[in-house]
């Protein structure tokens, strides 16, 4: 069996690990705010939109090397459309996500049927392949990491207040509308980034599972965020290495590691509770 030292010598593995760690950190931090605001499914919705956006970008003729960058504005616009739809009194958040994500998938399927030429490229985004991360995508991951973590630190107090209670936050003069837009735009960016790591089908796993695991162990809001990031990074590193050793798809392996951590924590809590 191939050793860890040998695996780490490969440049593409180094790129994959770096991009994976950055993406895991970004998704898991944003995921805490989304899960607590019951917006978990927004990751799924935005991932579906990413599918449509990638189809548009590939049809226009962008090189697969720049698909991630090119799809970003379309996904960000769609996230704002979700927010706009929720302002209509009779459309709830989950329904708005449903509408926009269906449109994303529908566009993807229709455009895929136009040409068989890029079907293979498009389908590769559905399942992701972090081992094919390019230098450009790694650079994008790094920029996104700086922007997202920087924004979360700068708006931390406002994000925390809005997550606890939006009305209470408003009564303190916090611009809740602005905070909601920021959170959605950052999530859109994270979803596009995560597409390469887990594939469109599993993007929401990176946003939902690490925060859920961290919530089982938390004793403060700040520790929940830190724990979520640590668990996610650990799962991504293990997922990439084991997928390489066992010749498995990286996206699926990463998600299985995340779920395994969640189950271990659930089990440990149950045993400790029974012992008391």
């Amino acid at each position: 069996m191939i050793g860890l030292g040998e695996i780490l010598k490969y440049e593409f593995v180094q790129r994959a690990l770096l991009a994976g760690v950055l993406t895991a950190a970004v998704s898991s931090v944003l995921g805490v705010f989304l899960v607590l605001r019951r917006l978990s499914l927004i990751g799924d919705g935005l991932a579906h939109i990413t599918f449509g956006s990638v189809a548009v970008v590939l049809l226009i003729g962008f090189s697969p090397l720049y698909v991630t960058v090119a799809a970003l504005p379309l996904v960000m616009l769609s996230s704002l459309a979700i927010l706009q739809l929720t302002r209509y009194k009779r459309i709830h958040g989950d329904a708005a996500i449903g509408i926009i994500s269906s449109v994303g998938i529908a566009i993807g399927i229709i455009l895929a049927s136009f040409s068989g030429g890029y079907n293979v490229d498009l389908l590769s985004y559905l399942f992701g392949n972090i081992l094919t991360v390019t230098q450009t995508e790694l650079l994008l991951s790094f920029i996104v990491f700086i922007v997202v973590i920087g924004t979360v630190i700068f708006f931390y107090d406002d994000l925390f207040a809005v997550t606890f209670d939006e009305e209470l936050a408003k009564s303190m003069g916090i611009k809740t509308k602005r905070i909601n837009i920021i959170l959605l735009l950052l999530t859109a960016v994270a979803a596009v980034l995560a597409m390469k790591v887990t594939g469109i089908m599993l993007v929401s796993a990176l946003l939902i599972i690490p925060p859920l695991t961290a919530l089982q162990l938390s004793f403060s809001f700040k520790t929940t965020i830190i724990l979520s990031a640590v668990i996610s990074i650990f799962s991504v590193i293990n997922g990439i290495i084991f997928s390489f050793i066992l010749n498995l798809p990286a996206g699926g392996t990463i998600v299985i590691f995340n779920v395994a951590f969640l189950l271990i924590i659930f089990g440990a809590k149950k045993i400790l509770h029974l012992q008391r």
């Binding site: 009194k89 209470l168 009564s171 303190m172 004793f219 403060s220 809001f221």
Partner: protein
């Protein structure tokens, strides 16, 4: 001249085309203790939410500390305790210390310790908010309302679900804040039997202003006698207390 900390002019708020508040004009002066009362659905909470910028009125104007609401920025001068604590997410991972300082950009450790001691929850500071009893959560949220040492405190039905002893402690605290520290208090309540003991002014709402004035005026107003009946007015005004003490 006393400053109006809150003032509304012809405030009208509609919900689904129906007036929830109609032409509300009233003012709260610095140092006042105002009770806002009225039946369910009379618009008490809606009025407060309009004043604090949570809801946008269709008509009328609102001023806070003499400034139009749109240009008001000194939100740390206002402490607010909302009504719907029972909707608090019990899985929320914030601890008491974090919740008390919620939304504050300038955190002050001394202020934090003082309010935690004042509310008797210092020993709970590292506990998660969702793990506390309703009364403890209420005290944590009250500590949050007080932590920035606000000049104006707005409470929306704060005594609902509190036991009588805790309710009395709460009212005594508001009275002390008002009398000793000059903090202006606006308190929405259904506890009409108690509010008159503490509030100097009363605003009776039923989608419009039914009565706005001093508690003494309320008790001697023939209009209010006509509206409530002599017995209810008698109970609200605690004239039965006087009868009990001077039989």
């Amino acid at each position: 001249m006393s400053v109006n900390l809150i003032s509304t002019e012809n405030l009208t708020f509609c919900f689904n085309g129906v007036d929830a508040l109609s032409n509300i004009s009233f003012a709260v002066k610095k140092g006042d203790y105002v009770g806002i009362v009225g039946p369910n659905g009379s618009g008490k909470s809606t009025l407060i939410k309009n004043i604090l910028g949570i809801l946008q009125p269709q008509k009328g104007s609102i001023s806070l500390f003499g400034q139009p609401l749109s240009s008001f920025r000194q939100w740390n001068k206002i402490g607010y305790l909302p009504q719907k604590l029972n909707a608090l997410n019990t899985n929320f991972p914030g601890n008491v210390e974090e919740i008390v300082q919620l939304g504050l950009r300038n955190k002050n450790a001394q202020n934090l310790e003082q309010v935690l001691n004042l509310m008797g929850i210092k020993h709970l500071s590292s506990r998660l908010i969702g793990e506390l009893s309703y009364g403890e959560q209420q005290r944590a949220m009250l500590a949050h309302a007080l932590v920035s040492r606000p000049e104006l405190l707005v409470f929306d039905e704060p005594t609902t679900a509190l036991d009588p002893e805790t309710r009395d402690i709460f009212y005594s605290l508001t009275e002390e804040l008002n009398r000793a520290h000059g903090t202006t208090i606006v308190l929405i309540t259904h506890d009409i039997g108690s509010i008159g003991k503490y509030a100097r002014n009363l605003l009776y709402l039923d989608k419009k202003v039914i009565f706005a004035g001093t508690f003494e005026d309320f008790c001697t107003s023939p209009d209010m006698t006509g509206l409530f009946g002599p017995m209810s007015q008698h109970i609200i005004c605690h004239q039965h207390d006087a009868l009990e003490s001077n039989p």
